[in-house]
């Protein structure tokens, strides 16, 4: 499983990254959390509102910061 955090490095993107890491830690699965800061790649996902959360290539949210609890639900 792979989580990607899309965003060009603003404060909101960092918050989402931290939430995702917290969620992964709590679930205890072997999940990789990667930051994607390249604009071209972000656009390739069709995302325009950053930060966005992508799990295994599927855009889960965009323009919002879901809490660690919400992210956990998608991981299970």
């Amino acid at each position: 499983m792979k989580i990607e955090i899309l965003g060009i490095g603003c404060a909101k993107c960092k918050m989402l990254y931290e939430n995702a890491q917290a969620a992964v830690k709590e679930v205890g699965l072997d999940v990789e959390v990667i930051k994607v800061e390249d604009m071209g790649k972000i656009t390739d996902y069709g995302v325009m509102l950053t930060p966005a959360l992508v799990i295994d290539g599927e855009v889960k949210t965009s323009g919002k910061i879901p809490s660690a609890e919400e992210i956990k639900k998608w991981l299970e």
């Binding site: 604009m39 995302v47 950053t50």
Partner: protein
């Protein structure tokens, strides 16, 4: 607890600025000027204007469904609507400067194309709600209004020109799939949202009502009861919050507003300090002699407007810092026309963001875009200068 400490630190710093004993300084100019300007901002602009503006910006980012706006930028969207929405949606979408570029890239590559994308890129930073409120408050409502209108009108013109200039490539280009739009359902009705935002803007307007010159008439009457009106709006806001909003929405709102404050306040105050040091307060002189500024950008000549546009286009302004800098420049003798030219070319462009734009649309289009912005800003500066009687 970390956030709480940050908040306490910021509140203390603000309080210190508010009571800054600048008169005790044995030396005057330009450090005196810098500190006096900081105190003036802390006293006159932070409590009643900047903080409510943060709450409005926070509310926009949390309560308004941004997806509902983005659907107008899709590949199959009506072109007329796409341009119109692109030119004004900066108020809603671009409260944070880092959101402008992904949107631009998305509209260009997968959505409505180069024209609407450039229109959005240009107007976004200039008409975001914080920028308009602060420009009107500190530099006067004429400049605030001219900035908003200029940005909207010229964004459409620039967008259309870009589309026409590169029409061949635009036709050959195939959109690579549509945008991901996401959830567009609204929790409250448009009327409820409208009333809520109107109350916040109402508070902002009346709390900052300035004393009119005559002591009679409607304006003076409003001035004398402005606190009751402002309080009325606050009561309205509280009632609406209790009746229409869920608890977690309210806490999201507060945290979004706080995020803006954290992001913008330190930069703004640094900008104020630097502007005060270099340019002084209106009527006073900083490190840079007023004479030089008046010669470069005084009056309303073509050269003054052009110079202001070029400088604005290449210089990087952190969110809102263009305002104290411009205030210093105007105080030192900059004309109203060149001031608008700088406001229109400045926040929309900077060397770092030109590089990112170049990565998205290529060198040729970037050069054309930058030139268009500089030309448009120069022309609108001259027009504004003539209207406000800056022609000398």
């Amino acid at each position: 607890m970390k956030e709480k400490n940050k908040f306490l630190f910021m509140a203390t710093a603000l309080l210190a600025c508010f009571y800054l004993p600048v008169e005790l300084l044995p030396f005057r100019n330009p450090i005196f000027e810098a500190l006096a300007l900081v105190r003036w901002y802390a006293r006159e602009h932070v409590l009643l204007c900047l903080i409510p503006a943060f709450f409005i910006a926070g509310a926009i980012s949390v309560f308004i469904s941004q997806s509902a706006v983005i659907k107008y930028f899709g590949a199959k969207a009506n072109k007329f609507l796409a341009y119109s929405v692109a030119s004004i949606s900066g108020t809603i979408l671009a409260v944070c400067s880092c959101t402008v570029l992904p949107l631009f890239s998305g509209i260009y590559k997968r959505g409505a194309g180069l024209g609407p994308a450039t229109a959005f890129l240009y107007s976004g930073p200039a008409i975001n709600v914080l920028a308009v409120i602060m420009t009107a408050r500190i530099l006067g409502w004429q400049l605030g209004l001219a900035r908003a209108i200029g940005a909207i009108v010229f964004s459409v013109v620039i967008g259309l020109l870009m589309h026409v200039i590169f029409i061949k490539e635009e036709r050959a280009r195939q959109a690579t799939g549509d945008l991901v739009i996401g959830d567009t359902k609204e929790i409250r009705s448009l009327l409820q949202n409208g009333l809520y935002f109107a109350s916040m803007v109402g508070f902002l307007v009346f709390a900052n009502w300035t004393r009119p010159e005559e002591n009679t008439g409607l304006w003076a009457l409003i001035y004398s009861i402005k606190w009751y009106i402002s309080l009325g709006f606050i009561v309205l806001i509280i009632i609406m919050l209790i009746r229409w909003f869920k608890k977690d929405e309210v806490s999201n709102w507060t945290s979004a507003s706080w995020t803006f404050a954290k992001q913008i306040m330190p930069l703004l105050f640094a900008g104020v300090l630097v502007a005060g040091l270099l340019l002084g307060r209106p009527g006073q002189e900083g490190l840079i002699p007023s004479e030089i500024i008046a010669r470069a950008v005084g009056g309303n000549s073509f050269l003054a407007n052009f110079f202001a546009s070029i400088v604005g286009a290449f210089m990087y302004f952190a969110t809102l810092t263009e305002i104290p800098i411009l205030q210093g420049l105007i105080g030192a003798g900059m004309g109203k026309g060149p001031a608008l030219a700088l406001l229109l070319a400045g926040p929309a462009l900077s060397l770092p963001n030109m590089l990112i734009i170049r990565g998205v649309i290529g060198t040729k289009k970037t050069v054309v875009y930058v030139s268009l912005v500089v030309i448009m800003a120069t022309i609108s500066g001259i027009i504004f200068g003539v209207i406000t009687g800056g022609l000398k």
